[in-house]
């Protein structure tokens, strides 16, 4: 096994790519009673949801925001959340209804998130790097990330595990995580449950219940704890023992590749 997880060539197991492994890891976060919603460029969570639904969570619901296909059939998964193929689904609703329901707070239990920056407390930023008024990098915007404040569990994923993405504090708070930690989180009294997991090409992380800071849970096969720490721009909580992320089963892998028959996760 090679020491990586960042490319198709050197991934663990039978040529499992990072993207494929991440889809499996995200699927494992999903429960049978979840209703999940995802947005922009969401091939990964699409595949994760379809996989979960066809394995351990048959009653899972998932909505591909944008097009708003409900349980899209995904053969194959698509790169754009607004692709017409996402209307090959059990049903579909207007986007304005999904935005309504995101606000209701008790409908969607899982919201997939990401960002240009993700910080130690799981706050996400897709707006800018640097000062908002004169940014060094202007990102696209917040989209629906402010809704993270109201959702049951936020699942964060990114293909970029490096110190520019994983920063101590986001430059612009678009999608709230645990804000500035326990005191501010408690003071805000937000209706949502906060971030639950962070999945990257290197590892899967959670949050330390005391400090609400990101904590390493498992490293993907071939990745060392040191690599993860070096790639993270803030002080990561590292437990004494960090297991290796369980390999995808044959069944999971076969299914992921059937769902992603277009190979969107192959390149990652």
């Amino acid at each position: 096994m090679s020491a990586a997880g960042r490319g198709a060539s050197d991934a663990p197991g039978a040529g499992v790519t990072s993207g494929e492994l991440m889809a499996v890891e995200l699927a494992r976060q999903l429960r049978d009673d979840d209703v999940a919603v995802m947005g922009t460029a969401s091939a990964l969570p699409q595949v994760a949801c379809r996989l979960a639904k066809e394995t351990h969570a048959p009653d899972l619901w998932f909505v591909a925001g944008g097009t708003c296909g409900v349980n899209p059939h995904l053969a194959p998964a698509v790169a754009s959340c607004c692709d017409e193929d996402l209307l090959r689904a059990d049903t579909a609703v207007p986007l304005s209804d999904v935005v309504l329901l995101e606000g209701r707070g008790d409908v969607f239990t899982v919201f997939f998130s990401g960002g240009l920056q993700i910080d130690a407390h799981g706050n996400c930023n897709l707006v800018c790097v640097g000062d908002w008024g004169r940014p060094s990098l202007r990102g696209p915007g917040t989209v629906g990330l402010p809704f993270l404040a109201r959702v049951g569990r936020v699942l964060i994923y990114t293909m970029s595990h490096n110190p520019r993405t994983f920063v101590e504090r986001v430059d612009f708070l678009g999608g709230p995580g645990f804000l500035d930690g326990p005191a501010s989180w408690e003071a805000a009294g937000l209706p949502g449950g906060g971030p639950a997991a962070v999945v990257t090409p290197l590892c899967t992380m959670g949050f330390d219940p005391q400090t609400l800071r990101m904590r390493l849970e498992t490293v993907h096969r071939g990745v060392t704890v040191e690599q993860v720490v070096d790639a993270t721009g803030f002080e990561l909580v590292v437990p004494a023992a960090v297991p290796v992320t369980p390999d995808p089963t044959e069944e999971e892998l076969t299914m992921v590749r059937r769902i992603d028959s277009g190979g969107l996760l192959k390149g990652h």
């Binding site: 754009s80 207007p94 629906g144 809704f147 709230p176």
Partner: protein, 294 residues
């Protein structure tokens, strides 16, 4: 009285130079009303404020590349999996474009408030913790909830002066069918003072009548209909053609520099008619039909 106009006339009559709030429909790389957008560039329409659906793409970036936009109200301008929006980035980073930072909830409920004549939209508790509302005090204010006494976030109504929206088909009276997803296009049409529709084809009213409740835009909201098959190119048109990612990549690579962006605008927009552009870039063979989406 038919509302069908040529592309030139629709923009000339209904998109005034210096338009106060221009909304562009579609979302991400789909259903962008690009023919109308390109014509607005050809006719050099200055836009005091541009509004995108929650996610704008080329519909916004091209107008910015052409130097026509003073301000943008948006929650996203980008090219999704293809990359960031080059003209938008450059303009914001250089300080030449003012951003009214918005989130998806506000754009949706703000347009709803505009459509409903509501004074404002009270927004869900919790949205006030993001920095969006602090970055945009013009659109977001705190208000005391008269039922609970707590301070909650309010968004100003969004009333576009003109909305440019794509639909699959329309009749001459402007009754239109949205093919595929709605994105925020119906809401935009409900909220705008003037709606200019770009459609793949004009059809008899009987064909519109067959569509069920909830899938159409009623003609009394529509001021002009432009029939322009293929006109969303290089973005997709649900039910008619897919995103031309190759063309978009060419745009992204050119527009990565200011000169390149200028060259794209000159070569693909100002220096060509819409018919020439489509003939060269988007031949009819590139289209398909998924009638079941309509």
């Amino acid at each position: 009285m038919s509302k069908v106009l040529s592309l030139h006339d629709a923009v000339e009559r209904h998109v005034p130079d210096g338009v106060g709030l221009l909304a562009v429909g579609g979302m991400h790389l789909q259903n962008n009303p690009m023919a109308l957008v390109r014509e607005a560039v050809r006719q050099q329409r200055r836009i005091r404020r541009l509004l995108t659906s929650p996610c704008g793409a080329l519909n916004a970036d091209l107008l910015i590349a052409a130097g026509l936009v003073d301000e943008i109200a948006t929650s996203y301008v980008g090219f999704e999996h293809l990359g960031l929006a080059p003209a938008f980035r450059r303009a914001v980073e250089s300080g030449s474009l003012r951003v009214l930072e918005c989130d998806e909830a506000y754009i949706t409920h703000g347009l709803g408030a505009g459509a409903g004549g509501l004074p404002f939209a009270a927004l869900p508790v919790g949205l006030e913790v993001s920095d969006v509302c602090r970055a945009n005090p013009e659109s977001y204010r705190l208000v005391e909830d008269p039922f609970t006494g707590t301070q909650v976030l309010a968004g100003a109504p969004l009333r576009p002066d003109v909305a440019l929206v794509h639909a699959s088909e329309a009749d001459v009276a402007g009754n239109a069918v949205l093919g595929g997803a709605h994105f925020l296009d119906r809401v935009m049409a409900l909220a705008a003072r003037t709606v200019v529709l770009q459609v793949e084809r004009v059809v008899p009213t009987e064909q519109i009548s067959r569509h069920p409740v909830g899938t159409t835009i009623p003609g009394f909201l529509v001021h002009a209909v432009v029939e322009i098959p293929g006109g969303c190119h290089p973005t997709a048109s649900h039910g008619h053609y897919r995103t031309d990612e190759e063309h978009l990549r060419r745009y992204l690579s050119l527009a990565a520099s200011a000169d390149g962006a200028q060259a794209y605008v000159d070569d693909y927009v100002r220096g060509t008619t819409e018919a020439e552009y489509l003939r060269a870039q988007h031949p009819a063979e590139a289209r398909h039909a998924r009638e079941e989406l309509r």
